[in-house]
């Protein structure tokens, strides 16, 4: 079963958005994404998007000119969407927005007026439909948390704040631990990462609970999330410039914060940094050394140990202002769906939304003759086992028996680029199969005798597998369709020495082959 941490690029929003400065993003219902951006005119604009499971990301609507100049954007969703921002006079303001179910109508409902002072480094979370908390750096340079009540009319009333309970900070990340508790991950006055826990009562009382002291070193680009197992995960650019994730356990009373583990040397130098929790791990979105977006997927076990699952390789271009938002996909979802969306600023300065999901091969099975040396089920399971080792799912989309006696034996010629008349006739039997779906035809034999053949015409990706093929021939031929070549290694699926001679089953696929498979347009995100 493919994990949601195996990421392949699904699609993007193309040129549906203009130039932007700051970006904040939050998930809405029904695969909707809400972005809050600072436009080229420096004004705040909300744009809604549909994260389609297939095809491009579609733009649903925007807020027009309903907001003024703003920067330091953050967004959270409760009963309404709330954007926290820095106004043109440098003050913190919260603005609430109502977005209809279609995402096309975005209406400004109210704001916080002049209830807050000068602020930068703004973040916001919702603790309940009507209770929000902001964290910011005050004009004096100190961390301050403020609680807010979202009123029925959309206005936001300041409830309380953290007073002088925190010191100087130069970076702030805020995350929700529970309905009455938040954590701030900050860069303190010494330049070190510090995590501070806070209680927030239903009435908005904010009280400092505990902190990590000097348990973490120097850090910048600080982010935090709570993973599915309840651990607090911080993500930073460490003193050496490398990405480092640290796991923390917060005690039930919120007062003790214990460092559990970190990602060690498993990641390299980064620029921008973002972090999101998914159902079975966390994903870092970073600007790699070459300036391009890279997603790195991590598993985090119950003891806080990190295992790097993989990364998105070179599937995206230059990016900054990277925001990650979890998509609607569940673990093991059988059909296409979005695991993750990135909202980012491209090299041209434009907003782009990219969708990601686990890669899967969509396979249609058409049977002229059932295999006998190994059953079709054994071949499919063999392929699934091997592909799963590199995070690929295999989705059997359809099965069909074809009554085509003349094509039970198929001329395949040299099986090297050119297709024969008989192959063309066989491959014409796609029966509404999509152009990026692969069809496996099970036949009696080929002429000349091969285990299988992966030569097929453009737009009709197909493989032939014969009755007496090995357990691994199906996966081997699909590997060819995905761009893999023969190798001289009998431990590997793509051995040129015959998959019947594989010495250490299941055979291997190596990382370079995984990249080739992901790059294939025929491996689609699930």
């Amino acid at each position: 079963m493919a994990s949601v941490l195996d990421l392949a690029r699904i699609n993007d929003s193309g040129d549906l958005a203009g130039g932007v400065g700051d970006i904040a993003a939050v998930a809405g219902p029904d695969a909707m994404l809400v972005t809050a951006v600072r436009t080229e005119a420096r004004t705040l604009k909300l744009i809604t998007w549909r994260l389609n499971s297939a095809g491009p990301v579609t733009r649903l609507g925007d807020s027009g000119a309903a907001a003024g100049v703003a920067s330091d954007l953050a967004i959270a969703v409760g009963a309404l969407y709330v954007v926290a921002c820095r106004t043109s006079d440098g003050k913190l303001k919260l603005i609430s927005w109502e977005i209809d179910a279609t995402g096309s109508a975005i209406t400004r409902r109210g704001d916080s007026g002049n209830a807050a002072g000068e602020a930068t480094l703004i973040d916001v979370v919702s603790l309940s439909p009507s209770l929000f908390v902001t964290a910011c750096r005050t004009g004096a340079g100190d961390l301050k948390l403020i609680s807010w009540r979202l009123n029925r009319d959309g206005s936001l009333a300041r409830l309380n704040d953290s007073g002088s309970a925190a010191g100087r900070v130069s970076e702030i990340a805020l995350c929700k631990l529970a309905s009455n508790r938040v954590a701030t991950a900050v860069r303190d006055g010494s330049g070190n990462l510090k995590v501070i826990t806070w209680s927030v009562s239903a009435a908005g009382e904010v009280a400092r609970l505990g902190d990590t002291g000097t348990a973490a070193g120097r850090a910048t680009l600080i982010r935090c999330v709570v993973d599915a197992g309840g651990l607090l995960i911080t993500s930073v650019r460490a003193a050496d410039g490398d990405l480092k994730l640290i796991s923390w356990r917060v005690s039930s009373d919120g007062r003790a914060i214990t460092r559990l583990g970190d990602s060690g040397e498993q990641a390299g130098d980064i620029g921008d940094n973002s972090l999101v929790a998914l159902p079975d791990g966390v994903v870092s979105g970073v600007r790699a050394a070459n300036g391009s977006l890279k997603l790195i997927a991590w598993s985090v076990d119950g003891s806080g140990r990190f295992t790097r699952r993989g990364d998105s390789a070179a599937q995206a271009g230059v990016a900054s202002q990277i925001q990650l938002v979890a998509g609607p996909r569940a673990i093991g979802a059988p059909r296409h769906s979005v695991a993750l969306a990135t909202a980012l600023r491209t090299a041209a300065g434009r907003l782009k939304v990219i969708t990601w999901g686990p890669p899967v091969v969509r396979l249609h099975v058409k049977i002229l003759v059932e295999p006998t040396t190994f059953t079709r089920a054994e071949m499919l399971q063999g392929m699934r086992d091997v592909f799963a080792s590199v995070g690929f799912g295999v989705e059997i989309v359809s099965e069909e028996t074809l009554d085509l006696p003349p094509l039970q034996t198929v001329d395949v010629g040299a099986c090297a680029g050119e297709t024969t008349t008989e192959q063309e006739r066989l491959f014409a039997n796609r029966n509404n199969v999509g152009p990026d779906d692969i069809v496996a035809y099970f036949v009696l034999a080929t002429n000349p005798p091969l285990n299988g053949c992966a030569t097929s015409p453009a737009g009709r990706p197909s493989v032939i597998v014969v009755q007496t093929a090995s357990r691994w021939t199906l996966g081997h031929e699909i590997g060819h369709v995905l761009g893999l070549r023969h190798v001289n290694d009998r431990n590997r699926l793509m051995t040129g020495g015959g998959t019947g001679n594989i010495t250490n089953p299941p055979p291997d696929l190596v990382p370079a082959e995984q990249s080739t498979m992901i790059d294939s347009r025929l491996s689609v995100p699930a």
Binding site: T373, P406, L444, A445, N447, P448, P449, N451, G452, S470
Partner: protein
Amino acid sequence: MALTMNQLRTLLDPDEPNYTQIRALLQPDDVPNLEALATGPDLMLASKAAYALSLIGTLPARDALARLAAAGPLQVRIAVASGLPNLRGLDVSALVTHLLADPDFNVRKGAIKASRALKLTALAPRLQTIAASDQVPALRQLAADALDELR
């Protein structure tokens, strides 16, 4: 010098053997080992060995193919029929005639195509019978097309 059994297996075991390369490596004295592989229990290897026999294109190879056509399993008989066009220049009428009467239509299909490829006009009466009465309609058409070309 004949290739060893292991050398032959190395050539034939790939999922997609390179028969062009194999043809260049085979010698007439490889017939016994190939026939042994073609009568072995591994049907995938056996069918590839049978086809490789046809690439040698000698009378002993043809005779080995005739024995396989008479007693081999279906996959091997199909491979024999597939290899018939490689026997150009040899008298293969008897072998093709035998395969045209094979109980399996996949073998008959290969033999019909070989009759056409080898321009075996002497087999026209047999092809006429198939065109008129084979139980598989597609083979009747295939035989009729072959007859048209032979005439």
